[in-house]
């Protein structure tokens, strides 16, 4: 179950989306997310969904692979859904004991669900088609203006990429520790919330220790390979805009303009 989380994993294949400059993809993801929150009618969401579907097609990443990653955020989704459904004031539609479902609540819940799903798929599409190193390079280059404000841009980008690289490794580690603890009689499944949270302690402590040990090893390995921050570093894969990148920017702007016009002006 732990290995199902595909967030932050790179999917190895060759496609137009894989070849795009990571800066384009980062900007696209950002604009896509913004567009999701600006839109407030059905047509807008439909358009966003179609746009995403086209991107997924272009990426050659199997859709199933992405959906598997969604399972991890199912709980969050349900949580948001239930809260919006019951706690939005407005015209009541249905009464269940002390809880009221309102018309506005239904609308809100549906909106949140669609937004979340599109948002997660959209951003995981970016990480699936971009290697963390590219991602880091893209972020670094996009955030370069912040360097003047003494923001450690390179360091932040490097930390992010390392975090991403270690997600699957730590997942595996968690799995291993979990099995070891289950073998010794630990019970992660039963009991109430508090008991379950308590049962996590023997899982988290070794996991943290292992993570620190790994961090220490990795830091040594990086130093041994002459890593000394962003100064004087060259790039193996420098970011150079190609023709397709400019084209992608144009398509992106077109989408953004259209989705805002349609998503905010049309009724429903």
């Amino acid at each position: 179950m732990l290995r199902d989380i595909t967030l932050g994993q790179y999917y190895q294949t060759d496609s137009l989306l894989h070849r795009l400059d990571s800066r384009v993809k980062l900007t696209a993801t950002l604009l896509f997310i913004i567009s999701l929150f600006l839109v407030n009618n059905l047509w807008g969401y439909l358009m966003a969904a179609v746009f995403l579907a086209v991107c997924i097609r272009l990426s050659h990443v199997p859709f199933r692979y992405m959906v598997r990653g969604m399972r991890a955020i199912l709980f969050l989704l349900l949580f948001a859904l239930v809260f919006n459904l019951f706690l939005t004031p407005g015209t009541p539609v249905l009464r269940l004991w002390k809880l009221t479902v309102t018309k506005e609540g239904i609308r809100m819940a549906a909106q949140i669900a669609v937004r979340l799903i599109l948002l997660i798929i959209g951003s995981s599409l970016m990480t699936l088609t971009t290697t963390p190193n590219h991602l880091t390079d893209g972020l670094e280059s996009l955030m370069k203006p912040l360097k003047k404000m003494r923001v450690p841009v390179h360091e932040v980008a490097m930390m992010m990429s390392i975090a991403l690289r270690f997600i699957p490794i730590l997942m595996e580690e968690t799995d291993k520790i979990m099995k070891a603890q289950i073998a010794r009689g630990a019970d992660f499944e039963s009991g109430n919330l508090l008991q379950r949270a308590k049962a996590m302690v023997p899982l988290l402590v070794p996991l943290f220790i292992a993570a620190f040990r790994r961090a220490n090893d990795l830091a040594l390995a990086m130093e041994a390979r002459c890593y000394r921050g962003g100064e004087g570093r060259t790039k193996m894969k420098p970011l150079i805009y190609q023709r397709r990148d400019y084209a992608a920017y144009a398509v992106l702007l077109l989408y953004f303009a259209a989705v805002i016009v349609i998503g905010r002006i049309l009724p429903i």
């Binding site: 790179y10 190895q12 290697t131 963390p132 190193n133 990429s161 390392i162 991403l164 690289r165 699957p168 490794i169 790994r214 090893d217 990795l218 040594l220 390995a221 990086m222 130093e223 041994a224 390979r225 002459c226 890593y227 000394r228 004087g232 570093r233 060259t234 790039k235 193996m236 894969k237 420098p238």
Partner: protein, 347 residues
């Protein structure tokens, strides 16, 4: 001066309590004098806690000596301005393959070192290609390291160091977490670097089979170098090694045991082929000397050799691919014709 030269090198691990007072001092490396010539294949042996990894970290300037000095390629590591030169001329591969791969794609990881050194883009690609080819991992350049086996990951790590064009490469127990196949492939890669690229290799290990090809072996115990010499010189002292809680290669051990039980074998036999040759010499002589009575004793020899043939299978390159050494010995008609016949069928 050699590529690595240490003089009275000592290192203390200092344990501080919460107020920052010294609680405990452990001397991990104690008065080590080491001299390594360029192009050599050096092995450092020692059981856990003998200080061999601490010593290795000095070669890469990850640690600087508490006392004494160490020069890498003529540069003193404790001087701040030399650190990056030292790290470039002495690359390091660590034990855990997962904790030293930075890139999410094999080629990006190999490019990490050159990137840090400020190598121009075009040259980085050339270096990545040539180093991946040198360790036989070029076909995997687009793969995610998470999907590789331990031995493959270690070879990627070696390529990552190699791409920095070091003069010397320190392998700190690179095979400790690998299965026998992975171990073989890593050691083969390390030997190829030494043979073909003429890189000085310093291999730290506690697998004895891996060091028999070394030009020089150092044995460490409690932070000191207690034995040094060629593998033959070191392994001829089986009892001493045992006292240091170290094993000797199984073939050497077998030869030693045979010697103990009265066979006049020389000290320090390292490979199955050598043992075979010695036994062959011996069995020829025994047959001549002992005549019909002694033939039974001589007939026992191929048995022992066959046993030796089975065991060092986990060791690179010593045993013939089909155990031909045992067959060859058994085929010697002078020693024991009957036994030879059925063992021939077995081999």
């Amino acid at each position: 001066m050699g590529i690595i030269e240490s003089r009275h090198l000592s290192y203390d691990y200092v344990k501080l309590d919460e107020e920052g007072n010294v609680e405990d001092v452990t001397r991990a490396v104690d008065d080590v004098n080491l001299s390594v010539e360029p192009g050599q294949f050096i092995a450092i042996l020692g059981h856990n806690g003998s200080g061999k990894s601490t010593l290795a970290k000095h070669i890469n300037a990850l640690l600087v000596p508490t006392e004494g000095t160490i020069y890498v390629d003529g540069k003193e590591t404790s001087r701040e301005e030399n650190i990056w030169d030292v790290r470039q001329s002495a690359g390091m591969v660590f034990q855990n393959p997962d904790n030293q791969i930075i890139g999410q794609v094999v080629e990006e990881d190999v490019g990490f070192g050159p990137e840090n050194m400020g190598v121009p883009t075009k040259e980085i690609w050339e270096r990545v290609e040539e180093s991946l080819k040198a360790v036989g991992m070029y076909a995997y350049r687009k793969h995610s390291p998470n999907k590789l086996s331990g031995g493959q990951k270690q070879r990627v790590s070696i390529a990552g160091v190699l791409a920095m064009h070091p003069k010397c490469i320190v392998l700190d127990e690179p095979t400790a977490m690998l299965d026998p196949d992975g171990r073989k492939s890593v050691i083969r890669a390390a030997r190829a670097l030494n043979d073909v690229e003429k890189v000085t290799v310093i291999l730290i290990t506690h697998y004895m089979e891996e060091v028999i090809y070394a030009d020089r072996v150092f044995v460490m115990d409690e932070g000191k170098i207690v034995m040094q010499g060629t593998p033959r010189e070191v392994f001829s002292q089986v009892e001493r090694l045992k006292a240091l809680r170290l094993d000797v290669p199984q073939v050497t051990l077998l030869a030693h045991e045979l010697q103990q039980s009265g066979l006049p074998l020389p000290d320090g036999i390292l490979t199955a082929e050598e043992l075979e040759a010695e036994l062959r010499k011996l069995s020829g002589r025994e047959t001549v000397e002992a005549g019909p009575d002694g033939s039974e004793e001589a007939g026992g020899l191929p048995e022992a050799a066959a046993g030796a043939q089975d065991r060092p299978a986990g060791e690179p390159g010593t045993a013939g691919p089909d155990g031909s050494a045992a067959g060859g010995l058994a085929m010697d008609p002078a020693s024991d014709p009957d036994g030879a016949a059925d063992r021939n069928g077995g081999a």
